[in-house]
């Protein structure tokens, strides 16, 4: 993600509104690039969240697979302790991301994958614009993933 952010920084000449859509679970140090981007532009982080992935169901032994790395993990979801610990860890992780984003000067809107993202995003931006005035009228920079 860092590479993409840096590319945007080079390409976007005029100060723009940039919406970064991601789950922000990428561990490649995007925070620094994002902060630099936010210095010149107005950046909104649209954090994608799959509610299933912070709440494990109780369905016995399941093998999960990471779609990017192909790694697999077999887990006993019937363990209450495991489900609780995972929920806590997921919440802590969301907190960390939010703190990171705020430290970069970036607003966060959480979009669930179980809802229609575009209307939700539009509503957020609308409310935001009304709050801040109509300075950034309609000019949206290319969205970075």
């Amino acid at each position: 993600m860092r590479g993409a952010l840096e590319a945007i920084r080079r390409l976007a000449r005029r100060p723009s509104l940039i919406v970064v859509t991601s789950d922000f679970l990428v561990p490649d140090g995007w925070a620094e690039a994002l902060r630099l981007l936010a210095q010149r532009h107005e950046v909104v982080a649209a954090r994608l969240r799959d509610p299933r992935e912070s709440d494990l169901p109780d369905v016995g032994l399941v093998t999960f697979e990471d779609p990017e790395t192909g790694e697999q993990l077999t887990v006993n979801t019937s363990s209450k302790r495991l489900r609780e610990r995972f929920a806590q860890a997921a919440a802590a992780q969301a907190e960390r991301i939010k703190t990171s984003l705020t430290a970069c000067g970036v607003d966060q809107v959480v979009l669930g994958t179980d809802e229609d993202t575009l209307p939700a995003l539009a509503a957020f931006l609308d409310a935001r614009r009304r709050r801040r005035g109509a300075r950034w009228a309609g000019r949206r920079g290319p969205s970075a993933a």
Binding site: D58, F64, E65, D66, L73, T74, N76, Q93
Partner: protein, 314 residues
Amino acid sequence: MTFAWPTALVGLVLVPVLLGFYLWMQRRRRRYAVRFTNLALLREVVGRGPGMWRHIPPLLFLLGMAALLVSLARPSLVLAVPRDQASVMLVLDVSGSMDARDLQPTRLGAARQAAKKLVDGLPSGAQVGVVAFSDRATLSAPLSGDPSRTQQALDGLTAGGGTAIGDGLNLALDQLAARPTNAAGERAPAVVVLLSDGENNAGRPPASVATRAQQEGVTVNTIGVGQRGVQTLLNRRTSVGLNETALESIASTTGGQYFYAADAGQLEQVYAHLGSQITWVTEQTEVTALASGLGAALVTVAGVLGLGWFGRLP
């Protein structure tokens, strides 16, 4: 282990089939894994996860199935089984030399102690009696199911006189010949435990009595104490020491064993050993029920663990 129906063992081929199926299912699960993008976090939380533990319920299940399949073939093992019936005649030498103190407290005292312990250890259905011999043989306690009579008889033994091994054995055989038959018309196994410290010098020769014992199916175990091959002078009667050859011969003729005891401790061990031989018999026992029980237990444990740990039957 031997089997009454060995062809049933063919069923064991089911075990590798089940194993193969399980391994195939494992591979299939890996192919149809659930998509999860936040796997890294899950991995941190899980740590090692169930790891090898998830294979335990299916493994137990497989072992249980194997035990059940084996039980179909009706296995039997050579096991030590408590003998519920036995007829034992204790034959003791009460000649004068049995007062000697080379065994503590005396030879007779040590023999008395050891014999009483043997009687204590017999199963409740056993019959026991006592014959004492010096110049002649005396029935101190007839063969009966009441061990207290035997204990009393043993307490009442006193030493004095010669050594009539043959007569002692003969009297014991008379008692055993009259032992009862059970409902199936069978007679309990008969055993004689004969102790002496000398050589036959009165009454009939032991060799012929040993033959009688062998013909009547009685096992005679002999125990020797005292001085091997040495003469002692007691009460103006010269007694040759222990004649081990004679005692050995009596034992081997009847399928029994000969033992020598050098002190009271060894004597006790010998009696204890003979006692447990009488109490326990090794025989081919069918263990089908045991195998089925084990199989059922394993399968149940597998089910319980599977449901308890992982929420599903293995």
